[in-house]
Symmetry: C2
Subunit: 119 residues, 2 copies
């Protein structure tokens, strides 16, 4: 059973966190059969944390968790903080496959999407 | 003459600002005939500022500037700070059309792009 966990920075502004939750719903709607479960978690300032989010996927039956960093640049959060959180859970659950997908800002497709947005 | 100005937050980390400049190159390469000019500017912590970036487009001959917020959530920066910067230049140059495109995180296409990234 395969889970997709969208991880965002988290904000003191509740509406920004809700926006991530709404995006998670949109991704869920478009995921089709690709994932059995799509959820979100936050690096800081909002709940659930990334380790708790991964644990929740495992508790719901996932044996594969893809962690997708919803970040625009490859800073410390993407390079260190998220991998550190993932390692904690991977060490706890060696039988579960946990993989970090490329972060959103680094995708080739982002340039095309921006041109589409600009109209 | 039509210009696309990608506006990012800006970072103390030079590599993050360089990443925006590289993205701007990728967008330029994909823009084809849609834009005569593609450039980037920063809300804070990096140069050029948004007003300076808009001015630079005008100085290079643009009579239409599309400002594209490279942001993931509709917080204060997207809702207030960028429109305020744009208004300063619009008031200075009433003959130039300056338009703010939807911010990246709010686009329908972002969900599909994320699923593609997750693989």
């Amino acid at each position: 059973m395969k889970a997709l966990l969208i991880v965002a920075h988290g904000s003191r502004r509740a509406a920004s966190n809700d926006e991530i939750r709404e995006l998670t719903q949109r991704v869920t709607a478009q995921a089709g059969d690709s994932y059995n479960l799509v959820d979100c978690a936050f690096l800081e300032l909002a709940e659930p944390s990334i380790p708790d989010g991964i644990q929740c996927c495992i508790d719901r039956g996932a044996d594969e968790v893809i962690v997708l960093p919803y970040f625009l640049s490859a800073g410390r959060h993407v390079a260190e903080d998220i991998p550190n959180d993932v390692k904690i859970k991977q060490d706890e659950h060696p039988g579960i496959r946990i993989r970090i997908a490329p972060y959103v800002g680094g995708l080739d497709g982002i340039a095309g999407l921006m041109l589409q947005a600009a109209g």
